[in-house]
């Protein structure tokens, strides 16, 4: 297996408290690794250690197979966005990018403009960062993390606090970075539904310990995904779905759960519209993943 990042019993202790306790993760090159855990589980601590912002108390990590002191040589190939994006509020998006670019000895305005275009901020002009919405700040934070042309991008809760449109935009940016640009992403979140839509590999962390590390296939074989559909006429909707060839589905309360061909949400909506059936809600749901998470952590549903 080709790993871009592996940690070896990485531990961070504050006094007697183990914020991260012997965490060993293995991030495959070219994928999106989702780190799942509730607030205070140790996700940020782990990412800070990997990002070079915090010194591990014990353990080590390898980037591109380099460990020990030589890991530091690989740090310029790592981009980070940990907690809130580090921006100067009185500067524009371009000026913030330029500031970081100068620190790296990069003097290429065209490249920086390209980065702003990539995250959808090319038209912000002279607007200062303090006037940006949370979503715009997060996207600028990602652009900042990309200045050094990283091969590994570490994103700590980038969808936290975003509205649905902001979350969708962020998802599309992550897909573009991973699948079009080949950047490996390590992303943390406590919003399981969202992480389930992007990640290809998962690490479940709880009270500083890594409980499980699985690929998407392994995880979803343990708990299945479904397409949850709400319309104004359930019986006619079932007829349409039958005509479309769907068979693995069930009616639950006022919605229909479909367990196959989850990427055909758009086609279902169009087919229903043709039959004058109003689609009230259609979304991929992974409640079962939540159940699996709670089963692992032994907690209740307050993640």
């Amino acid at each position: 297996m080709d790993y871009i990042l592996t940690t070896n019993e990485l531990t961070k202790t504050y006094g007697k408290y183990n914020a991260a306790n012997e965490v060993s993760i293995h991030v495959e090159r070219g994928g999106i690794y989702g780190l799942i855990g509730r607030n205070g589980a140790g996700k940020t601590t782990l990412m800070k250690m990997i990002g070079g912002l915090s010194r591990p108390t014990r353990g080590s990590f390898e980037i591109h197979g380099r460990n020990g002191e030589t890991t530091k040589q690989m740090m310029p190939k790592v981009g980070i966005l940990i907690e809130a994006p580090g921006l100067y509020p009185n500067m524009t998006a371009m000026q913030n990018l330029t500031t970081k670019a100068i620190a790296l000895g990069i003097n290429d305005k065209k490249y920086l403009k390209g980065l702003l275009e990539e995250v959808g901020l090319s038209n912000t002009g002279k607007k200062k960062a303090k006037q940006f919405s949370l979503g715009m700040k997060q996207r600028l934070g990602i652009a900042m993390a990309l200045v050094n042309k990283p091969e590994l991008l570490i994103l700590d809760e980038p969808i936290n606090g975003l509205d649905p449109q902001g979350i969708a935009e962020m998802r599309s940016i992550l897909h573009h970075l991973c699948y079009d640009k080949g950047i490996t992403i390590l992303i943390s979140s406590h919003i399981l539904d969202e992480l389930a839509k992007v990640a290809t590999q998962y690490g479940i962390i709880h009270e500083g310990r890594l409980l499980e590390e699985e690929t998407k296939e392994e995880l979803f074989s343990k708990c299945c995904e479904r397409l949850e559909l709400k319309t104004n006429d359930i019986s006619r909707t079932l007829e349409v779905l039958n005509m479309m060839g769907f068979s693995k589905m069930e009616v639950k309360d006022d919605s229909i759960n479909i367990y196959e061909r989850l990427n055909e949400g758009g086609a279902i909506t169009i087919a229903l519209a043709k039959e004058n059936i109003q689609t009230n809600e259609i979304a991929v749901k992974t409640d079962a993943l939540e159940d699996y998470y709670f089963q692992l952590t032994g907690g209740n549903k307050n993640v």
Partner: protein, 279 residues
Amino acid sequence: MLNIFRMHMYRVSKAKSTIVLLIVMIACLFIRFGLAHLVFDDPLNLEFVSVFASGNSQSSALTPSQVNTWCIQASNSLIICLTIFSVIFANCDFTRGFAKNTYSLYKSRTPLVMGKWASLMTCITAVYVVFSFFSLAFCALLLPAFESKRWGEYIRGWIVLYILLISMMTLVFFITNRFKSPAGGMVIGILIATGTFQTVERLIDVLIARASGESLLDAFAGKGNAFRLSDYCLDNVYISYSPSMGTGDTVRTVLVALVYGGLALFLAVWLSKKQDVRC
């Protein structure tokens, strides 16, 4: 290090805080010299300033070095403004979280700290040069008894005060960087400017003198041969420096400044390697 230096200079050029600082200090000078112009028409008042600046009651002329003392040492506005600027400068990338963007990329933290320090000192140097220029210009234009000779003495005093200021601002830089506390750095700067530490240092001097068997009067006057801690304390050395000092005292002043500044810079670099970045 050069890239970090350039980055901070770019940041300062966009932040406009250096320009605001200069405007505030020059406004302070305007007020100070405006009042001086009104007061110094009376020769008795001029003599008072002469005594205040150099302790010399014989001369009725105001020399450039006295101007230096009066404008830079006796005026708290320069050191307070520089302290506030240094604290804001040193803390800005941590409070804004920008440090996360740079600290993650460098193999060593030495260039990060050194580059930031060098850019801070460049700003301070620019402010000091402009402030001194305006001080001299105001003196030449507004004070009737200004004696525009003895430039050698003036330049020597100007350089020594510069070294002392750089040393003090390095100390403020270290404290702010170490504790990530703007309040800590500002308190240190303001306590130095207001001479609060001096009281404690003098008290220790008196205790040492008494322990060495000197009379209470000599101990308070600082006349005896006992060791005096205040001679090696940066704030006291700064306040008590005069361009008319002998070579020995001037060398001691410069050495004290260099030791404090060098130690503060070394500690800032060394401790940054052991510290996590908290943003």
